[in-house]
Amino acid sequence: MTAMLNVKDLRAYYGQVQALHGLSFSLNEGSLTTLLGANGAGKTTTLRAICNMVRSTGAIEFEGAPLGSRSTESIVRLGIAHVPQGRGTFTTMTVEENLQLGAISRKDKAGIVSDIERMYAHFPVLKERYAQQAGTLSGGEQQMLAVARALMLRPRLMLLDEPSFGLAPLIVRDLFKILGKINREDKVTILVVEQNAQLALELADQAYVIETGRIVMSGNAKEIANNEDVRKSYLGY
């Protein structure tokens, strides 16, 4: 299987502080991988480094080609969608405008229109609120909107940063079911950063555990979930 994303020796810095110390991992095409770890371990930094939102060194390859020093927006246009921490919703714009923005870099008008309909099919609650200001949606609804917006890019790789944050467990289950569906049916490779390890491991095929900027564990999600020692040491349950 081809590697969708190949990260080699990634080091990232906030000013003088080094947050990642030589991370290496790869994502297979069509896989659903989760990146786990405690607060401050470097999970968000990893996602940001992939999109060149933080100063970093190392080699990142997407679909075999190096990303180099491309700007964030040009990395996105290659087909990598990033749902950031806090969702990054355009709160002052309507739900539909948010979806349109997701597709702003695309040129196929007809495709965009049909994709918006598909998003409404995936997420019926968005269809109800299509003309509402995005800031008035509930947390769960905004998360759905963020995922839908990312999908409007027709990405081949989707990065999600703590999508479960602040959401009730039932809503998180629904969200993760949808993510699984997207991964299988739309063939989108997904990398999910999560603090909620249990749910994430149920969803994913592969898992990496990161601690203070280094990968300390990697492997099949089911095996890691079943490994009591790992769970207790690194995942807290």
Binding site: T91, T92, Q133, G135, T136, L137, S138, G139, Q142
Partner: protein, 338 residues
């Protein structure tokens, strides 16, 4: 989540912090500069001495702005108004009430302090661009207020007042310019050292906490309103003293000498020197005094354009002002030592 009509903003502070250690020059550098300042006047012409005096005076005004903006994060385009108040206070007291020039300075400072404090109070609700507009209005109003008819008896109206330059006291063997230079140097040193101590004190930390994050500072128990108003007052007071010295040095005061152009120049002086870096105030003052003249000598017709180009060159090379140069110099010296 949040209500419809609001934007939630987590702002980066508009004014960046200067680490406490970097706030002044090192002891060695300071002593060298002080020695030079004491000795140089004996070897140069009167006109140069006069220019050095003006650099110190404008430097004080820029320093005051640095305390206000770099210290408490409040943006002011109105310093020319306080400078004018100080200048006129000194002039009026000297010429109409025969008060000794040295005594007029503390009074000028107090009057300006009061003016700044009074202005600072209603300005509390304003920040950023709104405060800029308010201070701008003050600066524009001041020359007009000084021309008002019913004040003419005191202010001399449009023509202003002539100010008598003092002689050296106790029959000291030096000219007026040289005496004024040393007098100004003494006042400047006192205020400079006082300001540094202020910024390093608890009050200084409170000010900087307000600059960096007003809401957090208030949550920690800092009386934000009091400190912000005090900052305005202190800044105005120092500017007023500078104005008084300026009146004495230039030997007259007139309304059109204190226009918005002065306020803008002081602002530029602060940026060129490095916001929040007190020693830079004097470098900034030198810039705003000398560079316009240089621009005019390069091309009289395009002097404004040349000035603008020179200013751009400076801010491209050192966006953080002279402080950047000082930091680089410090690093170089550090490397040479090894």
């Amino acid at each position: 989540m949040s209500a419809a009509a609001e934007d939630v903003v987590t702002e980066a502070p508009a004014v960046e912090a200067v680490p406490k250690r970097a706030m002044t020059l090192g002891t060695g550098t300071s002593l060298v500069i002080l020695a030079a300042l004491l000795v140089v006047p004996m070897f140069v012409k009167n006109f140069i001495i006069f220019q050095m005096t003006m650099v110190m005076i404008y430097g004080l005004a820029v320093l005051a702005l640095n305390i206000l903006t770099g210290g408490s994060g409040q943006f002011s385009l109105g310093q020319s108004a306080f400078y004018a108040i100080g200048a006129y206070t000194s002039a009026v007291l000297m010429e109409n009430a025969n008060i000794n020039y040295a005594l007029t300075l503390p009074i000028a400072g107090l009057v300006s302090f009061a003016a700044g404090f009074l202005f600072g109070k209603p300005a509390l609700r304003l920040s950023g661009i709104y405060l800029a507009l308010a201070t701008f209005a003050l600066a524009v109003a001041m020359p007009q207020l000084l021309k008002l008819n019913f004040l003419e008896h005191w202010t001399g109206g449009v023509q202003g007042l002539v100010v008598t330059k003092p002689d050296a006291p106790f029959g000291l063997p030096m000219g007026q310019d040289m005496w004024l230079y040393y007098f100004t140097l003494a006042v400047t040193l006192a205020i400079y050292i006082g300001s540094i101590n202020l910024l390093r004190s608890r009050s200084g930390r409170a000010l900087m906490a307000i600059r960096d994050n007003e809401i957090a500072a208030s949550a920690m128990g800092v009386d934000v309103a009091l400190y912000k108003t005090l900052a305005f007052g202190v800044s105005a007071g120092i500017t007023g003293i500078a104005g008084g010295l300026g009146a004495i040095a230039v030997q007259f005061v007139a309304p059109d000498g204190y226009t918005i152009n002065l306020a803008i120049s002081l602002f530029l002086g602060m940026v060129v020197g490095g916001v929040g870096w007190l020693p830079g105030s004097f470098i900034g003052a030198a810039f705003i005094i000398f560079v316009p003249n240089i621009a005019e000598s390069i091309n009289k017709g395009l002097s404004g354009a040349v000035f603008g180009v020179l200013l751009f060159i400076v801010i491209f090379l050192v966006p953080h002002g002279a402080r950047q140069v000082a930091i680089v110099a410090q690093q170089l010296i550090g490397r040479l030592r090894k």
